[in-house]
Symmetry: none
């Protein structure tokens, strides 16, 4: 029995607004260094506290026990797509992160400049970590000479930071994943990319096109020092993901500041709402577009950023900043609001982790778990339990009375 088909069969049109407020990397752990408190516990959050008093809580496993997700799987899970089933290649994530608007079927690759000797042997996999300006110049050089391949496939080259860039191929009859054009160490030539499934004609064509791209591009870099070659990795196509609106009957708008999160939202068909450069502006933007969407995904980056830096005090402050502007959103009286992270980024880990992120869910019929403040510890005892992140949207739909009764 396909559970998604069951949900679809029961789904009714929404009447109110649903809001998913994502504090990136929100979850944390209590360790001795921070007096056994998490940032959520240490922060002063009067508005969240008031909301928590009338909410249900729980924790969410982002992918599977012990698995630490990147931003891609973390957000796909929040959007209700099983991150193990819908895998997004690194090239695609990288392209989204640079703000490139991928279309279905596009093949994207992470790339970076490298140094080659006269025999085509890789002598420096990062071309001495050239500066961004040089990377931009070289990408411009390649772009101006190669806009299409022989079969009409379009080529887009987007510079990133330092020696990094992204190449996107837009054509027909292609599919990933393709093996890396990267020896993964110095002293070897750049290997030809090849299909990961040798019997797939779509992958064969993609691999052949990438080989042709190399044949056209390498001569243009000849004589350049130190960046006279390049490597390509994570070569994958934009996956074929069921659209959010078809899946949930919800017209969804995305409010984010960083390109990657806009890109991930667009991957499932959300419309990006532009114009904010702070969390306060994001919430005001949401309020001003209130009537245009059924569902809002709002992304707040700072909690993750400070977690990655291991900066406990800054993460506490980011939570307090969010709390101070939360009334802008609450005054709109969303029918359902869920506040959570896409994963944990504990300060003690200084990186993403597998620890289940806490989630708060409020609606007129969420019930209150009577647990007090919104913290990891309280969430452990919440009525939502510890559940797979991909079910959050289903809980939100249920709270919006969007599901008919199952059976008589």
């Amino acid at each position: 029995m396909n559970i998604d088909a069951v949900y679809s069969g029961l789904t009714l049109a929404p009447k109110g607004k649903l809001v998913l407020l994502v504090l990136d990397g929100l979850g944390d752990i209590a360790v001795a260094a921070n007096g056994f408190k998490t940032p959520l516990e240490a922060a002063s959050t009067p508005n969240l506290d008031q909301l928590a008093g009338k909410s249900s809580m729980g924790r969410m496993t982002p992918v599977a026990p012990g698995i630490t997700p990147g931003s891609g799987p973390g957000h796909l899970g929040l959007f209700g797509y099983d991150p193990l089933e819908f895998q997004v290649g690194r090239g695609v994530i990288e392209a989204l992160g640079l703000g490139f608007e991928l279309k279905a079927g596009d093949i994207a690759a992470r790339a970076n400049f490298c140094s080659l000797d006269d025999n085509g042997i890789v002598t420096d996999r990062r071309a001495g970590r050239i500066e961004t300006a040089i990377c931009e110049e070289l990408c411009g050089l390649l772009s101006s000479s190669i806009s299409r391949l022989d079969d009409g496939t379009q080529v887009f080259i987007c510079p990133g930071k330092g020696h990094r860039f992204v190449v996107v191929f837009r054509g027909t009859g292609m599919e990933g994943p393709i093996s890396d054009a990267d020896p993964n160490r110095e002293g070897k030539p750049i290997p030809d990319p090849h299909p990961t499934n040798p019997d797939c004609p779509l992958q064969k064509k993609a691999a052949a096109n990438i080989k042709e791209f190399y044949e056209k591009a390498l001569p243009l870099l000849k004589g350049r020092q130190p960046a006279n070659g390049f490597l390509m990795r994570g070569i994958a196509h934009q996956p074929d993901i069921p659209l959010f609106q078809d899946r949930y009957l919800l017209k969804a708008g995305c409010i984010a500041i960083y390109p990657m999160y806009k890109g991930l939202a667009q991957l499932v068909g959300m419309t990006k709402i532009e114009g904010a450069s702070s969390i306060e502006q994001e919430l005001r933007l949401c309020a001003s577009h209130w009537d245009e969407y059924d569902f809002f995904f709002i992304h707040f980056k700072d909690t993750d950023m400070h977690g990655e830096d291991g900066n406990f005090d800054a993460k506490v402050k980011a939570i307090e900043t969010l709390d101070s502007v939360l009334p802008i959103l609450l005054e709109k009286n969303p029918e359902v609001i869920a506040i959570t992270g896409d994963h944990s980024t504990p300060c003690a880990v200084a990186g993403h982790s597998w620890h289940p992120q806490p989630v708060l869910l409020h609606s007129a019929i969420s019930g209150s778990d009577g647990l007090g403040r919104f913290t990891e510890k309280n969430a452990n005892s919440g009525s939502l339990g510890i559940f797979d992140a991909k079910y959050l949207i289903r809980h939100m739909q249920a709270n919006a009375k969007m599901f008919d009764k199952f059976g008589a």
Copy 2:
């Protein structure tokens, strides 16, 4: 998507030591007879208490809701193998329990002497519960006459307690499971064993060999009273289980006193470390072999034994004994330590049960759930939630930073 393949793809080499300390049958239930306290709650455990203050907790479902596991499934689950997928026959468990070192492909059967009348009808399924000495004598008689079958298959006969023994067939081209050579009640003849899958040539050969064994063995017992026949049950082969080291990249040592647990550990490829006859000696043995392994499985039997006897005070005492020697292990500073049971053996049940066993997990990045002592009730509110036991090793690997990030 095969989740084990995902884990394998992310697995990194271990840097520190991982310890799984199993207090057999640890979990218990609070009932009126014991003042609504469990042995963990009633015990004085200063060392566990201190560890609990900086640990995460949860409870584990050993197999599936409501299912009470035997020692085999209980331990396979702890070792990360789904006990429903990897089933180990009773004959195999029994052979392991007698200390017989099974090899892959061996067929093992539980057997016991019985009484037959002149027409081959079973008149007493347990041969009047003969004494162990007689069982040993009869097993010696059979062993000395039958060491091989006609096709070269080796036969090993190991006496157990009372009327019980084990027969192991080591040859090629055989497989279990085979139906019981046991009418399950008196007044019937011993049925021929037959393949459970009639189309399987490997099972056919195993069944034919067991029939041949009967033809050779029964005449040797003729005229003996009361044990002039025998029954065979749970006839199964040593299952083909992926090796622990291949699955987790962990070189594992097993420290146990009872043969069955050593056998279960060897079934997945752990090396047994011999020489202990008390929990204190087990922990000292672990400390003295610290550098030789990445992972230690340490088995403590007494909690289960007293639970089986329904002896609450003795179970409390066993926990206190464990607690008093725990520092021997903690002084080695394992990177990750998990303390749990393979199932619950509540004193009020006087046997194994399905109640999820409590688990405590500590590492530098486990976080603390701030729950105080390690008890069943506190574990209910832990950040690990109530999860399937087969994921414990994955949690331990995550805490040892043995998993790369999933996706970008």
